[in-house]
Protein backbone atom coordinates (compact mmCIF):
# COMPACT_ATOMS: atom_id res chain seq x y z
CA UNK A 1 0.00 0.00 0.00
CA UNK A 2 1.54 3.30 -1.02
CA UNK A 3 -1.08 5.73 0.12
CA UNK A 4 0.56 8.48 2.11
CA UNK A 5 -0.56 8.37 5.73
CA UNK A 6 -0.56 12.15 6.16
CA UNK A 7 -3.84 12.60 4.36
CA UNK A 8 -2.44 14.03 1.11
CA UNK A 9 -3.35 10.98 -0.90
CA UNK A 10 -1.84 10.94 -4.34
CA UNK A 11 -0.19 13.62 -6.41
CA UNK A 12 -3.29 14.99 -8.16
CA UNK A 13 -3.61 18.74 -7.96
CA UNK A 14 -6.50 20.06 -5.93
CA UNK A 15 -8.36 21.37 -8.99
CA UNK A 16 -7.87 18.18 -10.92
CA UNK A 17 -9.02 16.15 -7.93
CA UNK A 18 -12.12 18.31 -7.51
CA UNK A 19 -12.88 17.97 -11.24
CA UNK A 20 -12.49 14.22 -10.98
CA UNK A 21 -14.81 14.15 -7.97
CA UNK A 22 -17.45 16.19 -9.82
CA UNK A 23 -17.27 13.91 -12.86
CA UNK A 24 -17.58 10.79 -10.70
CA UNK A 25 -20.51 12.25 -8.75
CA UNK A 26 -22.24 13.29 -11.97
CA UNK A 27 -21.65 9.86 -13.44
CA UNK A 28 -23.09 8.25 -10.29
CA UNK A 29 -26.09 10.54 -10.51
CA UNK A 30 -26.72 9.57 -14.13
CA UNK A 31 -26.47 5.87 -13.26
CA UNK A 32 -28.93 6.44 -10.39
CA UNK A 33 -31.39 8.19 -12.69
CA UNK A 34 -31.30 5.32 -15.15
CA UNK A 35 -32.07 2.91 -12.29
CA UNK A 36 -35.59 4.34 -12.36
CA UNK A 37 -36.28 4.95 -16.03
CA UNK A 38 -40.07 4.84 -15.65
CA UNK A 39 -39.87 7.38 -12.81
CA UNK A 40 -37.80 9.66 -15.07
CA UNK A 41 -40.47 9.54 -17.81
CA UNK A 42 -43.30 10.17 -15.34
CA UNK A 43 -41.27 13.04 -13.94
CA UNK A 44 -40.92 14.57 -17.39
CA UNK A 45 -44.65 14.16 -18.08
CA UNK A 46 -45.30 16.02 -14.82
CA UNK A 47 -42.88 18.73 -15.91
CA UNK A 48 -44.66 19.16 -19.25
CA UNK A 49 -48.07 19.79 -17.74
CA UNK A 50 -47.32 23.13 -16.04
CA UNK A 51 -45.84 25.00 -19.05
CA UNK A 52 -48.37 23.52 -21.48
CA UNK A 53 -51.23 24.86 -19.31
CA UNK A 54 -49.61 28.31 -19.22
CA UNK A 55 -48.99 28.12 -22.96
CA UNK A 56 -52.57 27.19 -23.84
CA UNK A 57 -54.02 29.86 -21.54
CA UNK A 58 -51.79 32.66 -22.86
CA UNK A 59 -52.10 31.62 -26.50
CA UNK A 60 -55.88 31.68 -26.13
CA UNK A 61 -55.73 35.14 -24.52
CA UNK A 62 -53.41 36.37 -27.29
CA UNK A 63 -55.79 35.13 -30.00
CA UNK A 64 -58.79 36.71 -28.28
CA UNK A 65 -56.86 40.03 -28.21
CA UNK A 66 -56.26 40.09 -31.93
CA UNK A 67 -53.27 37.74 -31.89
CA UNK A 68 -51.01 39.57 -29.45
CA UNK A 69 -50.59 40.41 -25.71
CA UNK A 70 -47.85 42.90 -24.74
CA UNK A 71 -45.90 41.94 -27.84
CA UNK A 72 -46.32 38.18 -27.31
CA UNK A 73 -47.94 36.16 -30.11
CA UNK A 74 -48.99 32.50 -29.80
CA UNK A 75 -45.68 31.68 -31.54
CA UNK A 76 -43.54 33.64 -29.07
CA UNK A 77 -45.52 32.24 -26.14
CA UNK A 78 -44.81 28.76 -27.52
CA UNK A 79 -41.09 29.55 -27.75
CA UNK A 80 -41.10 31.02 -24.24
CA UNK A 81 -42.75 28.02 -22.60
CA UNK A 82 -40.87 25.33 -24.53
CA UNK A 83 -37.56 26.95 -23.51
CA UNK A 84 -39.12 27.49 -20.05
CA UNK A 85 -39.35 23.71 -19.72
CA UNK A 86 -35.62 23.24 -20.22
CA UNK A 87 -34.74 26.14 -17.92
CA UNK A 88 -37.10 24.84 -15.24
CA UNK A 89 -35.52 21.39 -15.41
CA UNK A 90 -32.00 22.73 -15.21
CA UNK A 91 -33.20 24.89 -12.30
CA UNK A 92 -34.22 21.92 -10.19
CA UNK A 93 -31.83 21.75 -7.26
CA UNK A 94 -31.68 20.32 -3.76
CA UNK A 95 -34.62 22.03 -2.06
CA UNK A 96 -35.11 23.10 1.54
CA UNK A 97 -37.69 20.30 1.84
CA UNK A 98 -34.81 17.92 1.21
CA UNK A 99 -32.98 19.56 4.05
CA UNK A 100 -35.88 18.84 6.40
CA UNK A 101 -35.67 15.19 5.39
CA UNK A 102 -31.90 15.11 5.81
CA UNK A 103 -31.94 16.60 9.28
CA UNK A 104 -34.95 14.63 10.54
CA UNK A 105 -33.71 11.31 9.21
CA UNK A 106 -30.13 11.92 10.30
CA UNK A 107 -28.79 11.29 6.81
CA UNK A 108 -26.44 14.21 6.78
CA UNK A 109 -23.78 12.75 9.07
CA UNK A 110 -22.21 10.60 6.36
CA UNK A 111 -21.63 13.67 4.16
CA UNK A 112 -20.10 15.61 7.03
CA UNK A 113 -17.58 12.84 7.53
CA UNK A 114 -16.21 13.28 4.02
CA UNK A 115 -13.29 15.66 3.40
CA UNK A 116 -15.29 17.78 0.94
CA UNK A 117 -17.83 20.55 1.58
CA UNK A 118 -21.28 18.90 1.29
CA UNK A 119 -22.51 21.52 -1.19
CA UNK A 120 -20.30 19.90 -3.82
CA UNK A 121 -22.31 16.65 -3.57
CA UNK A 122 -25.55 18.47 -4.28
CA UNK A 123 -24.10 20.61 -7.06
CA UNK A 124 -22.49 17.65 -8.80
CA UNK A 125 -25.33 15.20 -8.22
CA UNK A 126 -28.04 17.50 -9.55
CA UNK A 127 -25.85 18.68 -12.44
CA UNK A 128 -25.41 15.03 -13.46
CA UNK A 129 -29.16 14.55 -13.41
CA UNK A 130 -29.54 17.46 -15.87
CA UNK A 131 -27.84 15.53 -18.63
CA UNK A 132 -30.55 12.89 -18.44
CA UNK A 133 -33.24 15.57 -18.29
CA UNK A 134 -31.87 17.34 -21.39
CA UNK A 135 -31.90 14.06 -23.31
CA UNK A 136 -35.50 13.44 -22.28
CA UNK A 137 -36.47 17.06 -23.03
CA UNK A 138 -35.36 16.98 -26.66
CA UNK A 139 -38.14 14.70 -28.06
CA UNK A 140 -40.74 16.47 -25.89
CA UNK A 141 -39.61 19.88 -27.19
CA UNK A 142 -39.76 18.54 -30.74
CA UNK A 143 -43.30 17.23 -30.26
CA UNK A 144 -44.47 20.50 -28.66
CA UNK A 145 -42.85 22.47 -31.50
CA UNK A 146 -44.83 20.48 -34.06
CA UNK A 147 -48.04 21.20 -32.16
CA UNK A 148 -47.55 24.84 -31.10
CA UNK A 149 -45.20 26.25 -33.84
CA UNK A 150 -42.83 28.34 -31.70
CA UNK A 151 -41.36 31.51 -33.12
CA UNK A 152 -37.70 31.12 -32.20
CA UNK A 153 -34.80 32.76 -34.10
CA UNK A 154 -31.84 33.17 -31.75
CA UNK A 155 -28.47 34.57 -32.83
CA UNK A 156 -25.23 32.74 -32.15
CA UNK A 157 -24.51 35.15 -29.28
CA UNK A 158 -27.93 34.45 -27.78
CA UNK A 159 -27.26 30.69 -27.94
CA UNK A 160 -23.89 31.14 -26.22
CA UNK A 161 -25.32 33.39 -23.50
CA UNK A 162 -28.25 30.99 -23.03
CA UNK A 163 -25.85 28.09 -22.43
CA UNK A 164 -23.98 30.08 -19.77
CA UNK A 165 -27.18 31.53 -18.31
CA UNK A 166 -28.90 28.20 -17.63
CA UNK A 167 -25.88 27.04 -15.63
CA UNK A 168 -25.66 30.44 -13.94
CA UNK A 169 -29.33 30.08 -13.01
CA UNK A 170 -28.60 26.57 -11.70
CA UNK A 171 -25.83 27.90 -9.48
CA UNK A 172 -27.86 30.86 -8.16
CA UNK A 173 -30.85 28.67 -7.31
CA UNK A 174 -28.62 26.01 -5.72
CA UNK A 175 -26.86 28.54 -3.51
CA UNK A 176 -29.99 30.47 -2.51
CA UNK A 177 -31.98 27.32 -1.69
CA UNK A 178 -29.00 25.82 0.13
CA UNK A 179 -28.76 28.92 2.31
CA UNK A 180 -32.51 28.80 2.92
CA UNK A 181 -32.36 25.09 3.69
CA UNK A 182 -29.72 25.68 6.34
CA UNK A 183 -32.44 27.26 8.50
CA UNK A 184 -33.37 23.65 9.22
CA UNK A 185 -30.36 23.50 11.55
CA UNK A 186 -32.15 25.95 13.83
CA UNK A 187 -35.67 24.60 13.48
CA UNK A 188 -36.55 21.42 11.66
CA UNK A 189 -40.03 22.42 10.41
CA UNK A 190 -39.91 25.45 8.20
CA UNK A 191 -42.02 24.30 5.26
CA UNK A 192 -44.31 27.34 5.54
CA UNK A 193 -41.35 29.68 5.05
CA UNK A 194 -40.23 27.70 2.02
CA UNK A 195 -43.73 27.86 0.54
CA UNK A 196 -43.68 31.66 0.91
CA UNK A 197 -40.32 31.75 -0.85
CA UNK A 198 -41.55 29.62 -3.75
CA UNK A 199 -44.68 31.74 -4.10
CA UNK A 200 -42.58 34.92 -4.37
CA UNK A 201 -40.36 33.15 -6.88
CA UNK A 202 -43.35 32.07 -8.94
CA UNK A 203 -44.56 35.67 -9.26
CA UNK A 204 -41.27 37.55 -9.62
CA UNK A 205 -39.22 35.15 -11.73
CA UNK A 206 -41.04 34.86 -15.04
CA UNK A 207 -42.09 31.33 -14.21
CA UNK A 208 -45.82 31.99 -14.07
CA UNK A 209 -45.88 34.59 -16.86
CA UNK A 210 -43.19 36.44 -18.81
CA UNK A 211 -41.99 39.44 -16.77
CA UNK A 212 -43.19 41.80 -19.55
CA UNK A 213 -46.78 40.85 -18.66
CA UNK A 214 -46.37 41.64 -14.97
CA UNK A 215 -47.34 45.07 -13.53
CA UNK A 216 -44.61 47.70 -13.61
CA UNK A 217 -44.16 47.60 -9.79
CA UNK A 218 -43.60 43.83 -9.91
CA UNK A 219 -41.03 44.21 -12.67
CA UNK A 220 -39.19 46.85 -10.63
CA UNK A 221 -39.40 44.75 -7.45
CA UNK A 222 -37.98 41.71 -9.27
CA UNK A 223 -34.64 43.50 -9.63
CA UNK A 224 -34.12 43.25 -5.88
CA UNK A 225 -34.34 39.45 -5.87
CA UNK A 226 -32.41 36.64 -7.55
CA UNK A 227 -35.54 35.07 -9.09
CA UNK A 228 -35.65 36.75 -12.50
CA UNK A 229 -32.02 35.75 -13.18
CA UNK A 230 -32.95 32.11 -12.76
CA UNK A 231 -36.01 32.03 -15.06
CA UNK A 232 -36.84 35.13 -17.10
CA UNK A 233 -33.27 36.00 -18.05
CA UNK A 234 -32.12 32.61 -19.39
CA UNK A 235 -35.42 32.10 -21.23
CA UNK A 236 -35.41 35.57 -22.77
CA UNK A 237 -31.70 35.22 -23.60
CA UNK A 238 -32.72 32.57 -26.14
CA UNK A 239 -36.21 33.64 -27.16
CA UNK A 240 -35.66 37.42 -27.19
CA UNK A 241 -36.37 40.18 -27.69
CA UNK A 242 -33.14 41.15 -25.95
CA UNK A 243 -30.25 43.47 -26.82
CA UNK A 244 -26.56 42.55 -26.64
CA UNK A 245 -26.19 44.97 -23.74
CA UNK A 246 -29.05 43.27 -21.85
CA UNK A 247 -27.45 39.87 -22.49
CA UNK A 248 -24.18 40.97 -20.92
CA UNK A 249 -25.93 42.79 -18.07
CA UNK A 250 -27.87 39.64 -17.36
CA UNK A 251 -24.72 37.55 -17.12
CA UNK A 252 -23.17 40.19 -14.86
CA UNK A 253 -26.25 40.10 -12.58
CA UNK A 254 -26.00 36.32 -12.45
CA UNK A 255 -22.33 36.58 -11.48
CA UNK A 256 -23.29 39.08 -8.77
CA UNK A 257 -25.96 36.76 -7.31
CA UNK A 258 -23.59 33.78 -7.47
CA UNK A 259 -21.12 35.84 -5.43
CA UNK A 260 -23.80 36.92 -2.95
CA UNK A 261 -25.10 33.35 -2.67
CA UNK A 262 -21.61 31.96 -2.06
CA UNK A 263 -20.89 34.46 0.71
CA UNK A 264 -24.27 33.85 2.38
CA UNK A 265 -23.82 30.07 2.23
CA UNK A 266 -20.32 30.31 3.69
CA UNK A 267 -21.46 32.56 6.55
CA UNK A 268 -24.60 30.60 7.41
CA UNK A 269 -22.88 27.22 6.99
CA UNK A 270 -20.31 27.93 9.71
CA UNK A 271 -23.01 28.74 12.23
CA UNK A 272 -25.36 25.99 11.06
CA UNK A 273 -22.87 23.16 11.27
CA UNK A 274 -21.91 24.22 14.79
CA UNK A 275 -25.53 23.63 15.75
CA UNK A 276 -25.73 20.24 14.06
CA UNK A 277 -27.10 17.77 16.56
CA UNK A 278 -26.79 14.70 14.36
CA UNK A 279 -30.34 13.55 15.07
CA UNK A 280 -30.64 9.80 14.98
CA UNK A 281 -27.31 9.24 13.45
Amino acid sequence: MTVSPNGSLGAESKTHAMGSMYLTLMRTSIISQFQYRAAAYFYMIGMVVEPVIYLIVWSTIARSHGGEVAGFTPGTFAAYYIVWMLVRNVNIVFTPFGWEWRIKEGNFASQLLKPVHPIHYDLAEFAGGKLVVIILWLPIALALSLIFHPSLHPSLLQCGVFFLAIWGAYLIRSLVLWALGLITFWTTRVSALYEAYFLAELLLSGRLVPMQLMPRWAQTLSWAFPFRWTFAFPITALTGPISERELLEGLAMQALWIGVGTIVVMLVWRRAVARFSSVGG
Binding site: M1, T2, V3, P5, N6, G7, S8, L9, G10, A11, E12, A17, S20, M21, L23, T24, L25, T28, I31, S32, Q35, Y36, G106, A109, S110, L112, L113, K114, P115, V116, V273, A274, F276, S277, S278, G281
Partner: protein, 313 residues
Protein backbone atom coordinates in the same frame (compact mmCIF):
# COMPACT_ATOMS: atom_id res chain seq x y z
CA UNK B 1 11.02 6.73 21.15
CA UNK B 2 7.84 8.10 22.75
CA UNK B 3 4.90 8.57 20.40
CA UNK B 4 2.16 11.16 20.54
CA UNK B 5 -1.29 9.91 21.54
CA UNK B 6 -3.66 9.60 18.60
CA UNK B 7 -6.69 10.75 20.59
CA UNK B 8 -6.47 13.30 23.37
CA UNK B 9 -9.65 14.19 25.24
CA UNK B 10 -9.59 16.74 28.05
CA UNK B 11 -12.63 17.63 30.14
CA UNK B 12 -14.83 17.13 27.08
CA UNK B 13 -18.50 17.93 27.57
CA UNK B 14 -21.65 18.09 25.46
CA UNK B 15 -24.95 19.52 26.60
CA UNK B 16 -28.04 19.30 24.39
CA UNK B 17 -30.89 21.77 24.79
CA UNK B 18 -33.98 19.59 24.48
CA UNK B 19 -37.46 21.11 24.07
CA UNK B 20 -39.79 20.24 26.91
CA UNK B 21 -43.57 20.31 26.56
CA UNK B 22 -46.34 18.81 28.60
CA UNK B 23 -48.92 16.73 26.72
CA UNK B 24 -52.26 18.21 25.67
CA UNK B 25 -53.75 21.01 23.59
CA UNK B 26 -53.29 23.69 26.23
CA UNK B 27 -49.58 22.97 26.57
CA UNK B 28 -49.36 22.99 22.77
CA UNK B 29 -50.87 26.47 22.55
CA UNK B 30 -48.69 27.69 25.39
CA UNK B 31 -45.59 26.45 23.61
CA UNK B 32 -46.42 28.75 20.68
CA UNK B 33 -45.67 31.73 22.90
CA UNK B 34 -43.02 30.35 25.17
CA UNK B 35 -40.83 27.38 24.45
CA UNK B 36 -39.18 25.67 27.35
CA UNK B 37 -35.99 23.71 26.99
CA UNK B 38 -34.07 21.50 29.31
CA UNK B 39 -30.32 21.02 29.34
CA UNK B 40 -29.39 17.37 28.94
CA UNK B 41 -25.79 16.57 29.80
CA UNK B 42 -24.77 13.85 27.35
CA UNK B 43 -21.03 13.95 28.07
CA UNK B 44 -19.69 15.38 31.31
CA UNK B 45 -16.02 16.40 31.56
CA UNK B 46 -14.58 13.25 30.06
CA UNK B 47 -10.80 12.85 29.75
CA UNK B 48 -8.70 10.07 28.23
CA UNK B 49 -5.89 9.42 25.77
CA UNK B 50 -5.47 6.70 23.19
CA UNK B 51 -2.07 5.66 21.90
CA UNK B 52 -1.31 4.67 18.30
CA UNK B 53 -2.42 1.14 17.43
CA UNK B 54 -4.59 0.69 20.51
CA UNK B 55 -7.98 -1.01 20.25
CA UNK B 56 -10.18 0.47 22.96
CA UNK B 57 -13.65 -0.68 23.89
CA UNK B 58 -16.00 2.15 24.79
CA UNK B 59 -18.72 0.67 26.95
CA UNK B 60 -21.87 1.94 28.54
CA UNK B 61 -25.62 1.49 28.57
CA UNK B 62 -27.91 3.27 26.08
CA UNK B 63 -27.71 7.04 26.50
CA UNK B 64 -24.42 6.87 28.38
CA UNK B 65 -22.68 9.27 25.99
CA UNK B 66 -20.66 6.81 23.89
CA UNK B 67 -21.97 7.79 20.47
CA UNK B 68 -21.97 11.50 21.34
CA UNK B 69 -18.28 11.24 22.29
CA UNK B 70 -17.45 9.39 19.06
CA UNK B 71 -19.33 12.00 17.04
CA UNK B 72 -17.37 14.79 18.71
CA UNK B 73 -14.12 12.97 17.94
CA UNK B 74 -15.20 12.56 14.30
CA UNK B 75 -16.12 16.26 14.02
CA UNK B 76 -19.86 15.70 13.64
CA UNK B 77 -20.74 17.44 16.88
CA UNK B 78 -19.18 20.51 18.44
CA UNK B 79 -18.31 20.10 22.12
CA UNK B 80 -19.97 22.41 24.64
CA UNK B 81 -16.87 22.41 26.83
CA UNK B 82 -13.38 20.95 27.02
CA UNK B 83 -11.07 19.98 24.20
CA UNK B 84 -10.27 17.03 22.03
CA UNK B 85 -7.80 16.31 19.30
CA UNK B 86 -7.42 13.42 16.90
CA UNK B 87 -4.10 12.92 15.11
CA UNK B 88 -3.18 16.42 16.24
CA UNK B 89 -6.25 18.06 14.66
CA UNK B 90 -9.20 19.67 16.38
CA UNK B 91 -12.17 17.70 14.97
CA UNK B 92 -14.82 20.42 15.27
CA UNK B 93 -13.40 22.37 12.34
CA UNK B 94 -13.64 19.18 10.25
CA UNK B 95 -10.26 19.77 8.62
CA UNK B 96 -9.93 17.73 5.43
CA UNK B 97 -6.50 16.51 6.57
CA UNK B 98 -8.20 14.84 9.55
CA UNK B 99 -11.25 13.52 7.69
CA UNK B 100 -8.97 11.80 5.18
CA UNK B 101 -7.40 9.81 8.01
CA UNK B 102 -10.40 8.73 10.05
CA UNK B 103 -13.62 6.84 9.58
CA UNK B 104 -16.79 6.51 11.61
CA UNK B 105 -18.86 3.42 10.97
CA UNK B 106 -22.30 3.43 12.53
CA UNK B 107 -23.96 0.04 12.61
CA UNK B 108 -27.43 1.42 12.07
CA UNK B 109 -26.57 3.91 9.32
CA UNK B 110 -26.10 3.52 5.61
CA UNK B 111 -23.33 5.59 4.04
CA UNK B 112 -23.39 3.97 0.62
CA UNK B 113 -25.52 4.96 -2.39
CA UNK B 114 -28.73 3.04 -1.77
CA UNK B 115 -29.70 2.43 -5.39
CA UNK B 116 -26.29 1.59 -6.79
CA UNK B 117 -23.98 -1.40 -6.54
CA UNK B 118 -21.33 -0.92 -3.87
CA UNK B 119 -18.64 -0.81 -6.56
CA UNK B 120 -20.06 2.53 -7.74
CA UNK B 121 -20.01 3.88 -4.18
CA UNK B 122 -16.43 2.67 -3.82
CA UNK B 123 -15.52 4.56 -6.98
CA UNK B 124 -17.16 7.66 -5.54
CA UNK B 125 -15.07 7.33 -2.39
CA UNK B 126 -11.97 7.00 -4.57
CA UNK B 127 -12.72 10.37 -6.11
CA UNK B 128 -13.70 12.04 -2.83
CA UNK B 129 -10.65 10.83 -0.92
CA UNK B 130 -8.37 11.33 -3.96
CA UNK B 131 -7.02 7.80 -3.75
CA UNK B 132 -4.59 7.06 -6.59
CA UNK B 133 -6.30 4.54 -8.88
CA UNK B 134 -3.67 1.82 -8.57
CA UNK B 135 -3.77 1.97 -4.77
CA UNK B 136 -7.56 2.08 -4.83
CA UNK B 137 -7.86 -1.02 -6.98
CA UNK B 138 -5.35 -2.93 -4.87
CA UNK B 139 -7.01 -2.07 -1.56
CA UNK B 140 -10.53 -2.52 -2.93
CA UNK B 141 -9.73 -6.04 -4.13
CA UNK B 142 -7.99 -6.80 -0.86
CA UNK B 143 -11.03 -5.71 1.16
CA UNK B 144 -13.38 -7.63 -1.13
CA UNK B 145 -11.34 -10.75 -0.53
CA UNK B 146 -10.90 -10.29 3.21
CA UNK B 147 -14.59 -9.64 3.78
CA UNK B 148 -15.73 -12.14 1.14
CA UNK B 149 -17.71 -9.56 -0.82
CA UNK B 150 -17.19 -11.04 -4.30
CA UNK B 151 -20.86 -11.79 -4.87
CA UNK B 152 -22.17 -8.68 -3.10
CA UNK B 153 -20.41 -5.66 -4.59
CA UNK B 154 -22.21 -5.72 -7.93
CA UNK B 155 -25.72 -5.79 -6.43
CA UNK B 156 -27.58 -2.57 -5.58
CA UNK B 157 -27.06 -1.87 -1.88
CA UNK B 158 -30.83 -1.88 -1.29
CA UNK B 159 -30.90 -5.58 -2.24
CA UNK B 160 -28.38 -6.64 0.42
CA UNK B 161 -29.25 -8.09 3.81
CA UNK B 162 -28.30 -6.17 6.96
CA UNK B 163 -25.21 -8.28 7.53
CA UNK B 164 -24.11 -8.09 3.91
CA UNK B 165 -24.64 -4.35 3.89
CA UNK B 166 -22.57 -3.95 7.05
CA UNK B 167 -19.65 -5.79 5.51
CA UNK B 168 -19.87 -3.66 2.39
CA UNK B 169 -20.16 -0.50 4.53
CA UNK B 170 -17.00 -1.43 6.39
CA UNK B 171 -15.14 -2.01 3.14
CA UNK B 172 -16.32 1.36 1.79
CA UNK B 173 -15.23 3.10 4.99
CA UNK B 174 -11.72 1.70 4.82
CA UNK B 175 -10.86 2.36 1.17
CA UNK B 176 -8.96 5.50 2.11
CA UNK B 177 -7.01 3.43 4.64
CA UNK B 178 -7.90 5.47 7.72
CA UNK B 179 -5.46 5.56 10.61
CA UNK B 180 -8.25 5.89 13.17
CA UNK B 181 -11.45 3.83 13.15
CA UNK B 182 -14.44 4.87 15.24
CA UNK B 183 -16.76 1.89 15.18
CA UNK B 184 -20.18 2.46 16.70
CA UNK B 185 -21.97 -0.86 17.16
CA UNK B 186 -20.51 -2.37 14.00
CA UNK B 187 -22.03 -5.79 14.67
CA UNK B 188 -25.50 -4.69 15.76
CA UNK B 189 -28.24 -6.95 14.46
CA UNK B 190 -25.83 -9.41 12.84
CA UNK B 191 -25.81 -13.16 13.32
CA UNK B 192 -23.00 -14.86 15.25
CA UNK B 193 -21.05 -15.92 12.15
CA UNK B 194 -21.11 -12.43 10.70
CA UNK B 195 -20.18 -10.89 14.05
CA UNK B 196 -17.14 -13.17 14.26
CA UNK B 197 -16.10 -12.38 10.70
CA UNK B 198 -16.25 -8.64 11.32
CA UNK B 199 -14.40 -8.99 14.61
CA UNK B 200 -11.57 -10.96 13.03
CA UNK B 201 -11.45 -8.46 10.17
CA UNK B 202 -11.10 -5.49 12.55
CA UNK B 203 -8.36 -7.31 14.47
CA UNK B 204 -6.59 -8.10 11.21
CA UNK B 205 -6.87 -4.51 9.96
CA UNK B 206 -5.49 -3.22 13.27
CA UNK B 207 -2.49 -5.56 13.06
CA UNK B 208 -1.86 -5.08 9.36
CA UNK B 209 -2.02 -1.27 9.26
CA UNK B 210 -1.34 -0.35 12.89
CA UNK B 211 -4.65 1.52 12.96
CA UNK B 212 -6.11 2.86 16.18
CA UNK B 213 -9.62 1.60 16.89
CA UNK B 214 -12.27 2.89 19.24
CA UNK B 215 -15.22 0.54 19.42
CA UNK B 216 -18.61 0.70 21.06
CA UNK B 217 -20.65 -2.46 21.25
CA UNK B 218 -23.36 -4.04 23.29
CA UNK B 219 -21.88 -7.42 22.47
CA UNK B 220 -19.24 -8.14 25.07
CA UNK B 221 -17.84 -10.81 22.78
CA UNK B 222 -16.74 -7.99 20.45
CA UNK B 223 -14.95 -6.23 23.27
CA UNK B 224 -13.37 -9.38 24.69
CA UNK B 225 -12.12 -10.45 21.28
CA UNK B 226 -10.68 -7.09 20.27
CA UNK B 227 -9.94 -4.80 23.19
CA UNK B 228 -7.23 -5.03 25.81
CA UNK B 229 -8.37 -1.72 27.22
CA UNK B 230 -11.89 -0.53 27.99
CA UNK B 231 -13.37 2.81 28.93
CA UNK B 232 -16.68 2.51 30.74
CA UNK B 233 -18.96 5.54 30.57
CA UNK B 234 -22.23 6.06 32.39
CA UNK B 235 -24.37 9.20 32.64
CA UNK B 236 -21.73 10.95 30.54
CA UNK B 237 -18.90 10.28 33.01
CA UNK B 238 -16.07 7.81 32.92
CA UNK B 239 -16.40 5.10 35.56
CA UNK B 240 -13.44 3.02 34.53
CA UNK B 241 -10.50 3.31 32.17
CA UNK B 242 -8.00 0.49 32.11
CA UNK B 243 -7.23 -3.04 31.09
CA UNK B 244 -10.19 -5.33 30.51
CA UNK B 245 -8.55 -7.89 32.79
CA UNK B 246 -8.24 -5.43 35.67
CA UNK B 247 -11.88 -4.46 35.26
CA UNK B 248 -12.83 -8.04 36.02
CA UNK B 249 -10.42 -8.14 38.97
CA UNK B 250 -11.69 -4.91 40.44
CA UNK B 251 -15.40 -5.41 40.12
CA UNK B 252 -15.79 -9.16 40.02
CA UNK B 253 -15.26 -10.11 43.62
CA UNK B 254 -16.44 -13.68 43.16
CA UNK B 255 -15.10 -16.50 41.06
CA UNK B 256 -17.01 -19.59 40.08
CA UNK B 257 -15.61 -23.08 40.60
CA UNK B 258 -17.29 -25.76 38.52
CA UNK B 259 -16.52 -29.43 39.07
CA UNK B 260 -17.80 -32.46 37.17
CA UNK B 261 -18.05 -35.65 39.17
CA UNK B 262 -17.44 -39.22 38.04
CA UNK B 263 -21.20 -39.88 37.93
CA UNK B 264 -21.71 -36.92 35.58
CA UNK B 265 -23.12 -34.52 38.16
CA UNK B 266 -21.94 -30.88 38.00
CA UNK B 267 -21.42 -28.68 41.04
CA UNK B 268 -20.94 -24.88 40.92
CA UNK B 269 -19.64 -22.88 43.84
CA UNK B 270 -19.22 -19.08 43.96
CA UNK B 271 -16.53 -17.84 46.29
CA UNK B 272 -14.71 -14.57 46.93
CA UNK B 273 -11.32 -14.33 45.19
CA UNK B 274 -9.39 -14.67 48.46
CA UNK B 275 -11.17 -17.87 49.40
CA UNK B 276 -11.18 -19.57 46.03
CA UNK B 277 -8.22 -21.89 46.84
CA UNK B 278 -9.85 -23.14 50.03
CA UNK B 279 -13.22 -23.66 48.31
CA UNK B 280 -11.56 -25.60 45.50
CA UNK B 281 -9.59 -27.76 47.96
CA UNK B 282 -12.76 -28.59 49.86
CA UNK B 283 -14.59 -29.58 46.68
CA UNK B 284 -11.72 -31.82 45.59
CA UNK B 285 -11.44 -33.45 49.02
CA UNK B 286 -15.12 -34.17 49.41
CA UNK B 287 -15.98 -35.33 45.88
CA UNK B 288 -14.83 -37.74 43.21
CA UNK B 289 -13.90 -34.97 40.74
CA UNK B 290 -13.00 -35.74 37.10
CA UNK B 291 -12.92 -32.16 35.76
CA UNK B 292 -12.55 -28.69 37.26
CA UNK B 293 -12.77 -25.11 35.96
CA UNK B 294 -12.37 -21.77 37.75
CA UNK B 295 -13.90 -18.74 36.01
CA UNK B 296 -14.35 -15.04 36.57
CA UNK B 297 -17.93 -13.85 36.52
CA UNK B 298 -19.14 -13.08 32.95
CA UNK B 299 -17.93 -9.64 31.82
CA UNK B 300 -21.55 -8.56 31.31
CA UNK B 301 -22.15 -9.11 35.05
CA UNK B 302 -19.00 -7.18 35.91
CA UNK B 303 -20.09 -4.21 33.83
CA UNK B 304 -23.58 -4.37 35.28
CA UNK B 305 -22.09 -4.26 38.77
CA UNK B 306 -20.02 -1.28 37.76
CA UNK B 307 -23.11 0.59 36.50
CA UNK B 308 -24.98 -0.27 39.69
CA UNK B 309 -22.16 1.26 41.72
CA UNK B 310 -22.91 4.63 40.05
CA UNK B 311 -26.22 6.06 41.29
CA UNK B 312 -28.56 7.45 38.63
CA UNK B 313 -28.64 11.24 38.36
Amino acid sequence: MPTEPVVVVEQLGKVFQVPVREPGLRASLKSLLHRETRAVVAVDAVSFRIEPGEVVGFLGPNGAGKTTTLKMLAGLLHPTSGNCSVLGHEPKGRPAALLRQITLVMGNRNQLQWDLPALDSFELNRAIYRIPRADFLRLRDELIELLELQTLVDKPVRNLSLGERMKVEIAGSLLHQPKVLFLDEPTIGLDITMQKRIRSFVADYNKRYGATVMLTSHYMADVQALCKRVIVIHHGRILFDGALASLAERFSLDKTVTVRLADGEEIKVNAPRGEIAAATGKLLAENDVVDLTIEDAPIEDVIERLFESEPAK
